[in-house]
Amino acid sequence: MNIIKLVWNYLKAKPLNTALNIVLLSLGIAVIIVLLLFNKQLEEKISENARGIDLVVGAKGSPLQLILCNIFHIDFPTGNINLKEAERIAKNRLVKNAIPLALGDSYESYRIIGTDQRYADLYKVEVEHGSWFTEELEVVLGANVAALTKLTLNDEFASAHGLTGGHAHDEHNFVVKGILKRSNTVLDNLILTSVESVWHVHDLHTEEDHHDHERDSSFIASPLVPSIAAGDSTKEITSMLLQYRSPMAAIQLPRIVNGQSSLQAASPAFETARLFSILGVGVDILMAFAYVLIFISALSIFIALYNSLKERRYDLAIMRSMGATRLKLVVTILSEGVLLTLLGSVIGLLLGHGVVAIMTAFVAETQKAGISGLVFYTEEWIILAGSLLLGVLCALIPAWQAYRTDISKVLAGN
Protein backbone atom coordinates (compact mmCIF):
# COMPACT_ATOMS: atom_id res chain seq x y z
CA MET A 1 0.00 0.00 0.00
CA ASN A 2 1.26 3.43 -0.84
CA ILE A 3 -0.25 6.80 -1.66
CA ILE A 4 -0.48 6.13 -5.39
CA LYS A 5 -2.24 2.80 -4.81
CA LEU A 6 -4.60 4.36 -2.29
CA VAL A 7 -5.45 7.22 -4.63
CA TRP A 8 -5.83 4.82 -7.53
CA ASN A 9 -8.32 2.79 -5.50
CA TYR A 10 -10.29 5.93 -4.77
CA LEU A 11 -10.36 6.82 -8.47
CA LYS A 12 -11.35 3.25 -9.36
CA ALA A 13 -14.21 3.37 -6.89
CA LYS A 14 -15.85 6.06 -9.06
CA PRO A 15 -15.07 4.88 -12.57
CA LEU A 16 -17.57 7.10 -14.41
CA ASN A 17 -16.53 10.29 -12.65
CA THR A 18 -12.88 9.49 -13.18
CA ALA A 19 -13.43 8.61 -16.84
CA LEU A 20 -15.35 11.85 -17.46
CA ASN A 21 -12.59 13.96 -15.94
CA ILE A 22 -9.87 12.16 -17.85
CA VAL A 23 -11.78 12.32 -21.15
CA LEU A 24 -12.47 16.04 -20.80
CA LEU A 25 -8.88 16.89 -20.05
CA SER A 26 -7.40 14.54 -22.63
CA LEU A 27 -9.62 15.99 -25.38
CA GLY A 28 -8.43 19.50 -24.57
CA ILE A 29 -4.80 18.38 -24.51
CA ALA A 30 -5.23 16.36 -27.72
CA VAL A 31 -6.59 19.40 -29.60
CA ILE A 32 -3.61 21.44 -28.44
CA ILE A 33 -1.17 18.71 -29.46
CA VAL A 34 -2.73 18.33 -32.93
CA LEU A 35 -2.55 22.09 -33.48
CA LEU A 36 0.99 22.20 -32.14
CA LEU A 37 2.15 19.39 -34.43
CA PHE A 38 0.49 20.82 -37.53
CA ASN A 39 1.50 24.39 -36.89
CA LYS A 40 5.10 23.65 -35.99
CA GLN A 41 5.71 21.24 -38.81
CA LEU A 42 4.01 23.44 -41.39
CA GLU A 43 6.05 26.39 -40.26
CA GLU A 44 9.22 24.32 -40.40
CA LYS A 45 8.41 23.00 -43.87
CA ILE A 46 7.50 26.42 -45.16
CA SER A 47 10.60 28.12 -43.88
CA GLU A 48 12.69 25.18 -45.14
CA ASN A 49 11.16 25.43 -48.59
CA ALA A 50 11.49 29.17 -48.79
CA ARG A 51 15.07 29.13 -47.51
CA GLY A 52 17.52 30.86 -49.83
CA ILE A 53 14.87 32.36 -52.05
CA ASP A 54 14.68 36.11 -51.57
CA LEU A 55 12.21 37.05 -54.27
CA VAL A 56 9.93 35.37 -56.77
CA VAL A 57 9.27 37.19 -60.04
CA GLY A 58 6.26 36.15 -62.11
CA ALA A 59 3.23 37.39 -63.96
CA LYS A 60 0.94 39.94 -62.34
CA GLY A 61 -1.67 38.54 -60.02
CA SER A 62 -1.89 37.59 -56.39
CA PRO A 63 1.54 37.70 -54.72
CA LEU A 64 0.47 34.92 -52.35
CA GLN A 65 -0.53 32.79 -55.32
CA LEU A 66 2.86 33.44 -56.90
CA ILE A 67 4.57 32.14 -53.76
CA LEU A 68 2.24 29.17 -53.32
CA CYS A 69 2.69 28.19 -56.95
CA ASN A 70 6.40 28.68 -57.43
CA ILE A 71 7.84 27.81 -54.03
CA PHE A 72 5.42 25.33 -52.53
CA HIS A 73 3.95 24.13 -55.83
CA ILE A 74 0.41 23.91 -54.52
CA ASP A 75 -1.37 26.74 -56.34
CA PHE A 76 -1.65 27.45 -60.08
CA PRO A 77 0.59 29.87 -61.97
CA THR A 78 -0.47 33.49 -62.29
CA GLY A 79 0.51 33.31 -65.97
CA ASN A 80 3.68 33.37 -68.00
CA ILE A 81 6.34 36.01 -68.28
CA ASN A 82 8.42 36.92 -71.28
CA LEU A 83 11.93 35.49 -71.14
CA LYS A 84 13.39 38.73 -72.41
CA GLU A 85 11.83 40.75 -69.65
CA ALA A 86 12.94 38.20 -67.07
CA GLU A 87 16.49 38.37 -68.40
CA ARG A 88 16.53 42.11 -67.89
CA ILE A 89 15.81 41.59 -64.18
CA ALA A 90 18.25 38.68 -63.93
CA LYS A 91 21.07 40.84 -65.30
CA ASN A 92 20.56 43.49 -62.63
CA ARG A 93 23.70 43.93 -60.52
CA LEU A 94 21.67 43.43 -57.32
CA VAL A 95 20.80 39.86 -58.35
CA LYS A 96 23.24 37.17 -57.32
CA ASN A 97 21.40 34.22 -58.75
CA ALA A 98 18.30 33.87 -60.94
CA ILE A 99 16.71 30.45 -61.46
CA PRO A 100 14.06 30.05 -64.16
CA LEU A 101 10.98 27.89 -63.62
CA ALA A 102 8.70 26.67 -66.41
CA LEU A 103 5.54 24.92 -65.27
CA GLY A 104 2.75 23.44 -67.29
CA ASP A 105 2.81 19.66 -67.23
CA SER A 106 2.38 16.95 -64.68
CA TYR A 107 2.61 13.22 -64.34
CA GLU A 108 0.09 11.51 -62.04
CA SER A 109 -0.46 14.93 -60.43
CA TYR A 110 3.26 15.40 -59.73
CA ARG A 111 4.43 18.62 -61.32
CA ILE A 112 7.07 18.65 -64.00
CA ILE A 113 9.28 21.70 -63.50
CA GLY A 114 11.46 23.04 -66.25
CA THR A 115 14.51 24.52 -64.52
CA ASP A 116 18.20 23.80 -64.12
CA GLN A 117 20.49 22.21 -61.59
CA ARG A 118 20.75 25.39 -59.52
CA TYR A 119 17.18 24.79 -58.38
CA ALA A 120 18.23 21.56 -56.64
CA ASP A 121 21.40 23.22 -55.35
CA LEU A 122 19.18 25.78 -53.63
CA TYR A 123 17.89 22.98 -51.37
CA LYS A 124 21.29 21.23 -51.34
CA VAL A 125 19.67 18.13 -52.82
CA GLU A 126 21.81 15.71 -54.81
CA VAL A 127 21.02 12.96 -57.29
CA GLU A 128 21.01 9.66 -55.43
CA HIS A 129 20.56 7.25 -58.33
CA GLY A 130 21.50 7.87 -61.95
CA SER A 131 22.62 11.29 -63.11
CA TRP A 132 21.42 14.80 -63.80
CA PHE A 133 19.53 15.47 -67.06
CA THR A 134 21.62 16.64 -70.01
CA GLU A 135 19.38 16.21 -73.04
CA GLU A 136 15.87 17.40 -73.73
CA LEU A 137 13.05 15.22 -72.35
CA GLU A 138 15.28 13.77 -69.67
CA VAL A 139 14.01 14.13 -66.11
CA VAL A 140 15.12 13.70 -62.52
CA LEU A 141 12.47 12.49 -60.07
CA GLY A 142 11.92 13.65 -56.51
CA ALA A 143 12.20 10.90 -53.89
CA ASN A 144 8.45 10.78 -53.19
CA VAL A 145 7.58 10.74 -56.87
CA ALA A 146 9.89 7.80 -57.49
CA ALA A 147 8.53 5.93 -54.50
CA LEU A 148 4.85 6.47 -55.27
CA THR A 149 4.82 6.19 -59.07
CA LYS A 150 7.22 3.24 -59.02
CA LEU A 151 9.17 4.79 -61.89
CA THR A 152 12.83 3.79 -62.02
CA LEU A 153 15.86 4.78 -64.07
CA ASN A 154 15.39 4.80 -67.86
CA ASP A 155 11.62 4.35 -67.54
CA GLU A 156 9.64 6.40 -70.01
CA PHE A 157 6.40 8.23 -69.33
CA ALA A 158 4.11 10.66 -71.09
CA SER A 159 3.21 13.85 -69.26
CA ALA A 160 -0.28 15.26 -69.00
CA HIS A 161 -1.00 18.84 -69.87
CA GLY A 162 -1.89 20.97 -66.90
CA LEU A 163 -1.00 20.52 -63.27
CA THR A 164 -3.80 18.21 -62.19
CA GLY A 165 -4.05 15.96 -65.25
CA GLY A 166 -5.33 16.92 -68.68
CA HIS A 167 -4.89 15.53 -72.17
CA ALA A 168 -1.72 13.51 -72.51
CA HIS A 169 1.26 14.68 -74.50
CA ASP A 170 1.81 11.15 -75.64
CA GLU A 171 3.88 12.06 -78.65
CA HIS A 172 6.75 13.14 -76.38
CA ASN A 173 7.93 10.66 -73.78
CA PHE A 174 10.09 11.74 -70.87
CA VAL A 175 12.96 9.47 -69.77
CA VAL A 176 13.95 9.10 -66.13
CA LYS A 177 17.67 9.83 -65.81
CA GLY A 178 18.04 10.26 -62.10
CA ILE A 179 16.31 10.15 -58.74
CA LEU A 180 16.95 12.76 -56.07
CA LYS A 181 17.88 12.07 -52.49
CA ARG A 182 15.02 12.52 -50.00
CA SER A 183 15.25 15.98 -48.49
CA ASN A 184 11.84 16.55 -46.86
CA THR A 185 11.49 19.63 -49.02
CA VAL A 186 9.14 20.36 -51.87
CA LEU A 187 11.65 18.75 -54.25
CA ASP A 188 10.58 15.31 -53.01
CA ASN A 189 7.27 15.82 -54.82
CA LEU A 190 8.58 17.30 -58.08
CA ILE A 191 9.85 16.05 -61.40
CA LEU A 192 12.69 18.23 -62.66
CA THR A 193 13.68 18.69 -66.27
CA SER A 194 15.19 21.40 -68.44
CA VAL A 195 13.26 24.49 -69.44
CA GLU A 196 13.80 23.44 -73.09
CA SER A 197 11.99 20.13 -72.42
CA VAL A 198 8.90 21.95 -71.25
CA TRP A 199 9.01 24.15 -74.36
CA HIS A 200 9.58 21.07 -76.51
CA VAL A 201 6.56 19.22 -75.15
CA HIS A 202 4.39 22.21 -75.84
CA ASP A 203 5.66 22.34 -79.44
CA LEU A 204 6.87 25.88 -79.04
CA HIS A 205 9.26 26.80 -81.83
CA THR A 206 10.77 23.39 -82.15
CA GLU A 207 12.31 24.36 -85.43
CA GLU A 208 14.39 27.01 -83.68
CA ASP A 209 16.04 24.41 -81.48
CA HIS A 210 18.00 23.13 -84.44
CA HIS A 211 18.95 26.65 -85.30
CA ASP A 212 20.21 27.30 -81.75
CA HIS A 213 22.73 24.53 -81.94
CA GLU A 214 24.46 26.15 -84.85
CA ARG A 215 25.53 29.12 -82.77
CA ASP A 216 27.01 31.83 -84.96
CA SER A 217 29.70 34.18 -83.69
CA SER A 218 27.22 36.81 -82.54
CA PHE A 219 25.47 34.29 -80.25
CA ILE A 220 25.09 35.58 -76.69
CA ALA A 221 23.59 32.97 -74.40
CA SER A 222 20.58 33.88 -72.33
CA PRO A 223 21.52 34.20 -68.63
CA LEU A 224 18.46 32.11 -67.73
CA VAL A 225 18.38 29.44 -70.41
CA PRO A 226 21.90 29.27 -71.89
CA SER A 227 20.93 27.14 -74.92
CA ILE A 228 19.10 30.00 -76.56
CA ALA A 229 20.16 33.50 -77.45
CA ALA A 230 19.69 36.37 -75.06
CA GLY A 231 16.88 38.73 -75.83
CA ASP A 232 14.56 36.12 -77.32
CA SER A 233 11.19 37.83 -77.20
CA THR A 234 9.11 34.79 -78.15
CA LYS A 235 10.02 32.41 -75.35
CA GLU A 236 8.18 32.43 -72.04
CA ILE A 237 8.77 31.01 -68.59
CA THR A 238 6.45 30.86 -65.56
CA SER A 239 8.61 32.58 -63.01
CA MET A 240 12.09 33.24 -61.75
CA LEU A 241 13.54 32.70 -58.27
CA LEU A 242 16.01 35.38 -57.19
CA GLN A 243 18.77 35.56 -54.62
CA TYR A 244 19.96 39.00 -53.60
CA ARG A 245 23.54 40.09 -53.82
CA SER A 246 23.19 42.66 -51.03
CA PRO A 247 20.55 43.73 -48.49
CA MET A 248 20.07 46.84 -50.59
CA ALA A 249 18.34 44.64 -53.16
CA ALA A 250 15.47 43.96 -50.76
CA ILE A 251 14.51 47.61 -51.02
CA GLN A 252 15.23 48.29 -54.66
CA LEU A 253 14.50 45.11 -56.61
CA PRO A 254 10.79 44.68 -55.79
CA ARG A 255 10.26 48.28 -56.86
CA ILE A 256 12.13 47.77 -60.14
CA VAL A 257 10.21 44.56 -60.90
CA ASN A 258 6.80 45.91 -60.01
CA GLY A 259 7.54 48.98 -62.08
CA GLN A 260 7.36 46.85 -65.21
CA SER A 261 3.83 46.49 -66.47
CA SER A 262 3.78 42.71 -66.88
CA LEU A 263 5.88 41.56 -63.92
CA GLN A 264 5.36 41.35 -60.20
CA ALA A 265 7.71 40.44 -57.38
CA ALA A 266 6.68 38.60 -54.21
CA SER A 267 8.79 38.04 -51.13
CA PRO A 268 8.42 34.51 -49.71
CA ALA A 269 9.18 35.70 -46.18
CA PHE A 270 6.54 38.40 -46.31
CA GLU A 271 3.87 36.32 -48.02
CA THR A 272 4.29 33.29 -45.77
CA ALA A 273 4.08 35.55 -42.74
CA ARG A 274 0.86 36.94 -44.20
CA LEU A 275 -0.42 33.42 -44.85
CA PHE A 276 0.27 32.46 -41.26
CA SER A 277 -1.50 35.50 -39.91
CA ILE A 278 -4.57 34.49 -41.98
CA LEU A 279 -4.37 30.85 -40.83
CA GLY A 280 -3.59 32.05 -37.33
CA VAL A 281 -7.17 33.21 -36.76
CA GLY A 282 -8.49 29.69 -37.26
CA VAL A 283 -5.73 28.23 -35.14
CA ASP A 284 -6.46 30.75 -32.38
CA ILE A 285 -10.15 29.82 -32.33
CA LEU A 286 -9.33 26.12 -32.07
CA MET A 287 -6.79 26.88 -29.34
CA ALA A 288 -9.39 28.88 -27.42
CA PHE A 289 -11.75 25.93 -27.75
CA ALA A 290 -9.06 23.64 -26.36
CA TYR A 291 -8.48 25.95 -23.40
CA VAL A 292 -12.22 26.04 -22.69
CA LEU A 293 -12.21 22.23 -22.65
CA ILE A 294 -9.28 22.24 -20.24
CA PHE A 295 -10.94 24.83 -18.04
CA ILE A 296 -14.13 22.76 -17.89
CA SER A 297 -12.15 19.66 -17.05
CA ALA A 298 -10.33 21.54 -14.30
CA LEU A 299 -13.67 22.66 -12.90
CA SER A 300 -14.99 19.14 -13.13
CA ILE A 301 -11.95 17.73 -11.34
CA PHE A 302 -12.26 20.37 -8.64
CA ILE A 303 -15.95 19.59 -8.10
CA ALA A 304 -15.28 15.86 -8.07
CA LEU A 305 -12.55 16.23 -5.45
CA TYR A 306 -14.60 18.66 -3.42
CA ASN A 307 -17.66 16.41 -3.39
CA SER A 308 -15.74 13.24 -2.74
CA LEU A 309 -14.04 15.01 0.13
CA LYS A 310 -17.42 15.59 1.76
CA GLU A 311 -18.22 11.90 1.46
CA ARG A 312 -14.76 11.05 2.62
CA ARG A 313 -14.59 13.13 5.77
CA TYR A 314 -15.06 9.94 7.79
CA ASP A 315 -12.40 8.16 5.77
CA LEU A 316 -9.99 10.99 6.42
CA ALA A 317 -10.79 11.09 10.13
CA ILE A 318 -10.33 7.34 10.36
CA MET A 319 -7.02 7.61 8.58
CA ARG A 320 -5.97 10.20 11.13
CA SER A 321 -7.04 7.85 13.94
CA MET A 322 -4.79 5.22 12.41
CA GLY A 323 -1.81 7.53 12.63
CA ALA A 324 -1.89 9.45 9.36
CA THR A 325 -0.53 12.96 9.82
CA ARG A 326 -2.39 15.93 8.40
CA LEU A 327 0.40 16.39 5.88
CA LYS A 328 -0.15 12.86 4.62
CA LEU A 329 -3.83 13.58 3.99
CA VAL A 330 -2.94 16.76 2.13
CA VAL A 331 -0.42 14.86 0.01
CA THR A 332 -3.00 12.15 -0.67
CA ILE A 333 -5.58 14.62 -1.94
CA LEU A 334 -3.07 16.58 -3.98
CA SER A 335 -1.87 13.29 -5.48
CA GLU A 336 -5.41 12.47 -6.47
CA GLY A 337 -5.70 15.73 -8.41
CA VAL A 338 -2.27 15.25 -9.96
CA LEU A 339 -2.91 11.61 -10.88
CA LEU A 340 -6.15 12.61 -12.63
CA THR A 341 -4.54 15.39 -14.64
CA LEU A 342 -1.45 13.28 -15.32
CA LEU A 343 -3.59 10.49 -16.75
CA GLY A 344 -5.63 13.02 -18.69
CA SER A 345 -2.62 14.73 -20.20
CA VAL A 346 -0.73 11.53 -21.02
CA ILE A 347 -3.82 10.11 -22.74
CA GLY A 348 -4.28 13.49 -24.44
CA LEU A 349 -0.69 13.44 -25.70
CA LEU A 350 -1.07 9.94 -27.09
CA LEU A 351 -4.43 10.83 -28.60
CA GLY A 352 -3.04 13.97 -30.25
CA HIS A 353 -0.07 12.15 -31.76
CA GLY A 354 -2.32 9.26 -32.72
CA VAL A 355 -4.78 11.49 -34.55
CA VAL A 356 -2.00 13.18 -36.50
CA ALA A 357 -0.39 9.81 -37.27
CA ILE A 358 -3.70 8.42 -38.55
CA MET A 359 -4.33 11.55 -40.58
CA THR A 360 -0.92 11.36 -42.22
CA ALA A 361 -1.55 7.70 -42.99
CA PHE A 362 -4.86 8.35 -44.74
CA VAL A 363 -4.76 11.89 -46.09
CA ALA A 364 -2.41 12.27 -49.05
CA GLU A 365 -2.03 16.05 -48.64
CA THR A 366 -0.57 15.75 -45.16
CA GLN A 367 1.79 13.06 -46.44
CA LYS A 368 2.94 15.33 -49.25
CA ALA A 369 3.42 18.16 -46.78
CA GLY A 370 5.72 15.83 -44.85
CA ILE A 371 3.80 16.06 -41.57
CA SER A 372 4.40 13.27 -39.08
CA GLY A 373 2.61 12.29 -35.87
CA LEU A 374 5.76 10.86 -34.37
CA VAL A 375 7.60 14.11 -33.83
CA PHE A 376 7.85 15.37 -30.26
CA TYR A 377 8.42 18.95 -29.23
CA THR A 378 9.72 20.45 -26.00
CA GLU A 379 6.42 22.31 -25.70
CA GLU A 380 4.83 18.98 -24.77
CA TRP A 381 6.85 18.90 -21.56
CA ILE A 382 5.39 22.31 -20.76
CA ILE A 383 1.88 20.94 -21.38
CA LEU A 384 2.64 17.98 -19.12
CA ALA A 385 4.05 20.18 -16.37
CA GLY A 386 1.14 22.60 -16.76
CA SER A 387 -1.39 19.83 -16.33
CA LEU A 388 0.33 18.64 -13.17
CA LEU A 389 0.13 22.17 -11.84
CA LEU A 390 -3.54 22.20 -12.82
CA GLY A 391 -4.04 19.04 -10.76
CA VAL A 392 -2.42 20.65 -7.74
CA LEU A 393 -4.55 23.78 -8.17
CA CYS A 394 -7.79 21.78 -8.42
CA ALA A 395 -6.89 19.82 -5.29
CA LEU A 396 -5.68 22.79 -3.28
CA ILE A 397 -8.97 23.79 -1.65
CA PRO A 398 -10.09 20.22 -0.92
CA ALA A 399 -6.64 19.48 0.51
CA TRP A 400 -6.80 22.57 2.72
CA GLN A 401 -10.18 21.43 4.02
CA ALA A 402 -8.81 17.98 4.73
CA TYR A 403 -5.98 19.63 6.65
CA ARG A 404 -8.39 21.59 8.82
CA THR A 405 -10.81 18.74 9.51
CA ASP A 406 -11.63 18.35 13.22
CA ILE A 407 -11.40 14.57 13.47
CA SER A 408 -13.07 14.31 16.84
CA LYS A 409 -16.12 16.20 15.61
CA VAL A 410 -16.38 14.11 12.45
CA LEU A 411 -16.06 10.83 14.33
CA ALA A 412 -18.50 11.87 17.06
CA GLY A 413 -21.02 13.40 14.71
CA ASN A 414 -22.22 10.02 13.62
Binding site: A317, M322, T325, R326, S408, A412
Partner: protein
Protein backbone atom coordinates in the same frame (compact mmCIF):
# COMPACT_ATOMS: atom_id res chain seq x y z
CA UNK B 1 -1.29 1.97 30.96
CA UNK B 2 -3.92 4.70 31.06
CA UNK B 3 -3.98 7.28 33.83
CA UNK B 4 -6.41 10.20 34.09
CA UNK B 5 -6.09 12.97 36.70
CA UNK B 6 -8.17 16.15 37.22
CA UNK B 7 -9.45 15.91 33.66
CA UNK B 8 -12.03 18.38 32.42
CA UNK B 9 -13.03 19.54 28.98
CA UNK B 10 -15.36 22.18 27.59
CA UNK B 11 -16.66 22.71 24.07
CA UNK B 12 -16.48 26.41 23.31
CA UNK B 13 -18.43 28.43 25.88
CA UNK B 14 -20.42 25.54 27.25
CA UNK B 15 -20.06 24.35 30.79
CA UNK B 16 -17.15 21.95 31.06
CA UNK B 17 -17.39 18.25 31.78
CA UNK B 18 -15.39 16.93 34.74
CA UNK B 19 -14.17 13.39 34.51
CA UNK B 20 -13.35 11.13 37.47
CA UNK B 21 -9.73 10.20 38.07
CA UNK B 22 -8.93 6.62 37.15
CA UNK B 23 -6.10 4.37 36.17
CA UNK B 24 -6.08 1.18 34.12
CA UNK B 25 -3.19 -1.28 34.19
CA UNK B 26 -1.60 -3.08 31.30
CA UNK B 27 -3.79 -5.85 29.82
CA UNK B 28 -6.65 -4.77 32.04
CA UNK B 29 -10.02 -4.11 30.43
CA UNK B 30 -12.45 -1.43 31.42
CA UNK B 31 -15.97 -0.31 30.58
CA UNK B 32 -16.84 3.42 30.45
CA UNK B 33 -20.55 3.54 31.17
CA UNK B 34 -22.85 6.48 30.73
CA UNK B 35 -25.96 7.76 29.02
CA UNK B 36 -25.84 9.73 25.79
CA UNK B 37 -24.33 13.16 26.42
CA UNK B 38 -22.49 12.06 29.52
CA UNK B 39 -19.13 12.59 27.82
CA UNK B 40 -18.16 8.99 27.06
CA UNK B 41 -17.16 9.77 23.48
CA UNK B 42 -15.42 12.98 24.57
CA UNK B 43 -13.38 11.05 27.12
CA UNK B 44 -12.55 8.32 24.65
CA UNK B 45 -11.46 10.88 22.05
CA UNK B 46 -9.27 12.62 24.63
CA UNK B 47 -7.70 9.29 25.61
CA UNK B 48 -7.16 8.51 21.93
CA UNK B 49 -5.54 11.85 21.24
CA UNK B 50 -8.30 12.77 18.80
CA UNK B 51 -9.41 15.71 20.94
CA UNK B 52 -7.04 18.23 22.44
CA UNK B 53 -7.40 21.36 24.52
CA UNK B 54 -8.36 19.66 27.77
CA UNK B 55 -7.14 20.59 31.21
CA UNK B 56 -5.65 18.07 33.59
CA UNK B 57 -3.43 15.14 32.86
CA UNK B 58 -3.86 12.17 30.54
CA UNK B 59 -1.09 9.64 30.35
CA UNK B 60 -1.18 6.77 27.87
CA UNK B 61 1.61 4.18 27.70
CA UNK B 62 3.72 6.43 29.87
CA UNK B 63 3.37 9.50 27.66
CA UNK B 64 1.56 12.69 28.63
CA UNK B 65 -0.58 13.37 25.54
CA UNK B 66 -0.54 17.15 25.98
CA UNK B 67 3.25 17.13 25.62
CA UNK B 68 3.08 15.86 22.03
CA UNK B 69 2.81 18.05 18.96
CA UNK B 70 -0.06 17.47 16.55
CA UNK B 71 2.13 15.43 14.18
CA UNK B 72 3.84 13.53 17.01
CA UNK B 73 0.40 12.75 18.44
CA UNK B 74 -0.71 11.34 15.06
CA UNK B 75 2.32 9.07 15.00
CA UNK B 76 1.87 8.09 18.65
CA UNK B 77 -1.77 7.20 17.99
CA UNK B 78 -0.83 5.07 15.00
CA UNK B 79 1.66 3.01 16.99
CA UNK B 80 -0.01 2.78 20.40
CA UNK B 81 -3.74 2.76 19.81
CA UNK B 82 -6.35 0.86 17.91
CA UNK B 83 -9.88 2.22 17.41
CA UNK B 84 -13.24 0.55 16.95
CA UNK B 85 -16.20 2.86 16.40
CA UNK B 86 -19.93 2.39 16.68
CA UNK B 87 -20.41 2.37 12.95
CA UNK B 88 -17.35 0.79 11.52
CA UNK B 89 -15.52 3.40 9.57
CA UNK B 90 -14.06 1.26 6.86
CA UNK B 91 -12.75 2.90 3.70
CA UNK B 92 -15.35 1.94 1.14
CA UNK B 93 -13.08 2.35 -1.88
CA UNK B 94 -10.80 -0.43 -0.62
CA UNK B 95 -11.17 -4.18 -0.21
CA UNK B 96 -11.15 -5.84 3.24
CA UNK B 97 -7.47 -6.71 3.04
CA UNK B 98 -6.46 -3.27 1.85
CA UNK B 99 -8.46 -1.70 4.69
CA UNK B 100 -6.39 -3.78 7.10
CA UNK B 101 -3.11 -2.93 5.39
CA UNK B 102 -3.93 0.77 5.80
CA UNK B 103 -3.26 0.44 9.55
CA UNK B 104 0.46 -0.42 9.36
CA UNK B 105 0.88 1.77 6.27
CA UNK B 106 -0.50 4.89 7.92
CA UNK B 107 1.30 4.15 11.19
CA UNK B 108 4.52 3.76 9.17
CA UNK B 109 5.05 0.22 10.41
CA UNK B 110 6.22 -2.68 8.21
CA UNK B 111 3.31 -4.23 6.29
CA UNK B 112 2.86 -7.91 7.06
CA UNK B 113 0.32 -9.64 4.84
CA UNK B 114 0.46 -13.02 6.60
CA UNK B 115 -0.27 -11.35 9.89
CA UNK B 116 -3.26 -9.60 8.34
CA UNK B 117 -4.53 -12.93 7.09
CA UNK B 118 -4.07 -14.56 10.48
CA UNK B 119 -6.02 -11.84 12.21
CA UNK B 120 -8.84 -12.18 9.69
CA UNK B 121 -8.80 -15.95 10.20
CA UNK B 122 -8.97 -15.61 13.97
CA UNK B 123 -12.02 -13.39 13.50
CA UNK B 124 -13.62 -15.91 11.15
CA UNK B 125 -13.71 -13.71 8.07
CA UNK B 126 -10.63 -14.95 6.18
CA UNK B 127 -12.73 -15.73 3.09
CA UNK B 128 -13.80 -12.07 2.87
CA UNK B 129 -10.21 -10.95 2.29
CA UNK B 130 -10.82 -9.66 -1.23
CA UNK B 131 -14.43 -8.55 -0.78
CA UNK B 132 -15.49 -4.96 -1.05
CA UNK B 133 -16.39 -3.59 2.36
CA UNK B 134 -19.76 -2.45 0.99
CA UNK B 135 -20.69 -6.12 0.51
CA UNK B 136 -20.22 -6.99 4.20
CA UNK B 137 -22.92 -7.29 6.85
CA UNK B 138 -22.78 -5.03 9.91
CA UNK B 139 -21.35 -7.81 12.05
CA UNK B 140 -18.74 -8.76 9.47
CA UNK B 141 -17.77 -5.12 8.97
CA UNK B 142 -17.35 -4.69 12.72
CA UNK B 143 -15.02 -7.69 12.77
CA UNK B 144 -12.95 -6.11 10.02
CA UNK B 145 -12.79 -2.95 12.13
CA UNK B 146 -11.61 -5.04 15.11
CA UNK B 147 -9.02 -6.76 12.91
CA UNK B 148 -7.77 -3.38 11.77
CA UNK B 149 -7.62 -2.09 15.37
CA UNK B 150 -5.46 -4.99 16.61
CA UNK B 151 -3.26 -5.46 13.54
CA UNK B 152 -0.52 -3.11 14.72
CA UNK B 153 -0.39 -4.80 18.16
CA UNK B 154 -1.25 -1.56 19.95
CA UNK B 155 -1.00 -1.59 23.77
CA UNK B 156 -4.36 0.22 23.99
CA UNK B 157 -7.61 -0.53 22.14
CA UNK B 158 -10.34 2.09 22.37
CA UNK B 159 -13.87 1.11 21.37
CA UNK B 160 -16.70 3.62 21.11
CA UNK B 161 -20.14 1.97 21.25
CA UNK B 162 -18.85 -1.03 19.31
CA UNK B 163 -22.02 -3.06 19.80
CA UNK B 164 -24.95 -0.66 20.03
CA UNK B 165 -25.82 -1.00 16.34
CA UNK B 166 -25.83 -4.81 16.51
CA UNK B 167 -28.46 -7.40 17.44
CA UNK B 168 -27.99 -9.53 20.55
CA UNK B 169 -26.21 -12.37 18.78
CA UNK B 170 -23.74 -10.16 16.92
CA UNK B 171 -23.30 -8.04 20.04
CA UNK B 172 -22.18 -11.02 22.06
CA UNK B 173 -19.87 -12.20 19.27
CA UNK B 174 -18.29 -8.79 18.77
CA UNK B 175 -17.58 -8.09 22.44
CA UNK B 176 -16.24 -11.63 22.92
CA UNK B 177 -13.99 -11.21 19.90
CA UNK B 178 -12.85 -7.81 21.14
CA UNK B 179 -11.90 -9.22 24.52
CA UNK B 180 -10.32 -12.28 22.94
CA UNK B 181 -8.25 -10.20 20.52
CA UNK B 182 -7.23 -7.75 23.22
CA UNK B 183 -6.06 -10.70 25.35
CA UNK B 184 -4.26 -12.28 22.42
CA UNK B 185 -2.35 -9.06 21.79
CA UNK B 186 -1.94 -8.30 25.51
CA UNK B 187 -3.66 -4.99 25.01
CA UNK B 188 -5.66 -2.82 27.34
CA UNK B 189 -9.25 -2.62 26.15
CA UNK B 190 -11.40 0.40 26.91
CA UNK B 191 -15.03 0.26 25.83
CA UNK B 192 -17.25 3.33 26.06
CA UNK B 193 -20.89 2.31 25.89
CA UNK B 194 -24.41 2.67 27.21
CA UNK B 195 -25.16 -0.86 26.03
CA UNK B 196 -26.39 -2.70 29.14
CA UNK B 197 -25.66 -6.03 27.44
CA UNK B 198 -21.95 -5.52 28.02
CA UNK B 199 -22.16 -4.96 31.79
CA UNK B 200 -21.36 -8.52 32.79
CA UNK B 201 -18.65 -9.00 30.13
CA UNK B 202 -16.04 -6.67 31.62
CA UNK B 203 -15.51 -6.42 35.34
CA UNK B 204 -13.88 -3.02 35.77
CA UNK B 205 -16.39 -0.26 35.14
CA UNK B 206 -16.26 3.50 35.37
CA UNK B 207 -19.54 5.34 35.45
CA UNK B 208 -19.75 8.83 34.01
CA UNK B 209 -23.27 9.61 35.19
CA UNK B 210 -23.26 12.46 37.69
Amino acid sequence: MVTVKNLSFSYGNQEGIRFPDFSINKSEHCLLLGESGSGKTTLLHILGGLLRGYSGSVEVAGTELASLSETALDRFRGKHMGFVFQRNHLISALTVEKNLIMAPYLAELPVNHTQAEEVLKSLGIAEKKNSKVTELSQGQAQRVAIARAVLNNPPVILADEPTSALDDKSCAQVIDLLIQQANAHQATLLVATHDQRLKDKIGKQISLNG
